[in-house]
Symmetry: C4
Subunit: 208 residues, 4 copies
């Protein structure tokens, strides 16, 4: 019969609303790891500044994860804007995507705590890889299932796929750098993210 | 007079928005139980991998609960899509539904902690049972109160009810397996959830 | 000049969306106080059941607060449904309302912890009183500022005001019972809430 | 090619929805720092009242931060109401804005803990400054990129810019007072916030 599956999960608006909610909570939870220093350890302005200074690497890792979530939020939104409606398969592809989003605070906390360990960095990269793979699969499904609006230009699918592949190649290159040093890895990934967030008008970078 | 009850709680859009918010928070809170290992216990890459490996069962339970919430999110959305507007009774049926959703992080944490105990598994199942019962009651109310859009095909109500009953029968069967072993119980429930999430095109499974 | 105040905060949709978000987070955070029992203290099914049984009062207080939030969510939604647009004053009235909503998890935790203390019960009641007072003020402002849709029947304002006043009188009566016993107080308030949530078709109760 | 950047991030509705989510979570998380007193330390009503009294400064700081978030929520909403659609640059400007919003619970907790330290107050002020600077940059970008609705009156841009500059000048003045006393600083900032929230009809204050 499978009848239920033919009319279930068709609202692209609710899929977008759930996604915005999950992204909003994940983005804000990231910061919960940023604790105010313990009052007992602080006896002067200098103590407080020193304690805050120790939080700086954690803040950087947090910014990085916020940027990652921002990039994938823009990416998902861009796809859903092109859709006439959803269906149950698309709903589940994006639920898998959101599951991967909710793992981000954990991967981030792990990397902030164990920044010198390759295992933490590789796990962080696997999280980004999973996000990219699902975004790629989502577009493939959209095209195959005929869920795209009729006025979507043919070049757009190519541009979406190209963006995901180039970005993931850069992330993989960044992750590979951890054979040399996890900090080099992290620095490279930050630069890639910054490029996608700021999108400078520089010929070579715009081609990425 | 009871006048207030005649014009209160009529926005199906706000009911959907509140639901998306509660689901989003509950889905993301589930992961808060996944803590990075303590830094003091980790002195090598092998230590870190071993500590992460210990988290694997917890991650599986978390995935299971995310799937459960996903299934009921799709189910609720499907119903609200068929509705012209809400009323105060429907609002309260869905508030009860959302209350049951918010208990999911607790039931999940309980099962992740006490996976070998039947009491934890039965409580988890009761949570799923309550979700199913309210979804069932919601559809019955929709039909009785005439809140359905006029173009809803007559077969849809039958399909919705059939889906809920078959699913709950399978969950009950899974829960009953705990007389034999809680792990067998859990494994069976995971398979049922996977079937509903992935919806493979296999004749027998599609009939469920 | 005050020019900014004339065009700021006019979106009733965003006010509703922010409210749904705050309610969703507050409703879900309430449950965070429900911790799984410590694994060390549990050595048998009987131990686990006993530990869960100790959580029952906490669960009841949580249900009570969820109902309170549900009642005020329905109340606020009902008002915003009648509005053509918002303005900055209405935005701030509802921001004050949302502030009071965010205090609910704290008041609830306090009462769950100190159920035998009058101070905890009175604080909880003050929280409900503040919610009611702002809902009342909001409607008064809506009428005065001419933000209501033209097709809102004249009797509706009267019904809204009547509902708030009767409910608050009952809550105040419940709170006053704490001179006798805090549990009597709590029980009475639970009954009032249940009446508003379930809305039984009983003549006398429908008049409340 | 840069093609992707031309069609990415165009939904102003999803930007608003994500923002409402982040604001809702940040506003509600602020209150998590308000813990019920430890049960062991309370043996009488007087003990409980005394313990609650100690929470009063924390509640005030929390109210202040809620007001700050409210002011910037109204400010952002006002801008997005004037927009025909978003684009990827605007999306990233507002993601930076939301990042700054998520830092607010941390800055608030820091100031509540270290109210006598200038470093905590200056950091809090820097958070407000960053929010104001991004709101200012957002409007500048809106005008430059031609994203404003055609019916937006020319005086509105001037009013928006004036509001941000006057408010930030007052906040800077307040922060500067910490050379004298952090409490004077805090008191002054509270008065500025109250003025923007309540918007009294007093000639001089309306000109701010």
């Amino acid at each position: 019969m499978g009848h239920y599956n033919m009319f279930a999960g068709r609202s692209a608006e609710r899929l977008a609303a759930l996604s915005d909610g999950v992204f909003a909570v994940a983005m804000t939870l990231l910061v919960l790891d940023l604790h105010a220093p313990a009052a007992e350890a602080v006896h002067s302005e200098a103590d407080l500044l020193a304690a805050l200074w120790l939080l700086a690497p954690r803040l950087l890792v947090y910014m990085l994860s916020f940027m990652t979530l921002g990039i994938f939020w823009v990416g998902q939104q861009t796809q859903l804007n092109f859709v006439t409606h959803s269906d149950r398969h698309l709903s589940w592809i994006h639920l898998a995507f959101l599951f991967t989003v909710t793992l981000m605070p954990f991967s981030t906390a792990l990397m902030a705590e164990f920044i010198a360990y390759r295992a933490a960095l590789v796990l962080y990269w696997l999280n980004i890889l999973a996000l990219g793979a699902i975004v790629f699969a989502s577009w493939a499904y959209l095209e195959r299932a005929g869920l795209l609006k009729p006025d979507v230009a043919p070049g757009i699918g190519k541009a979406v796929r190209r963006r995901v592949i180039v970005a993931q190649a850069l992330y993989a290159l960044g992750a590979a750098l951890c054979a040399y040093s996890t900090l080099a890895s992290l620095g490279f990934i930050v630069l890639v993210q910054l490029n996608y967030a700021v999108a400078p008008r520089i010929g070579l970078l715009q081609r990425l």
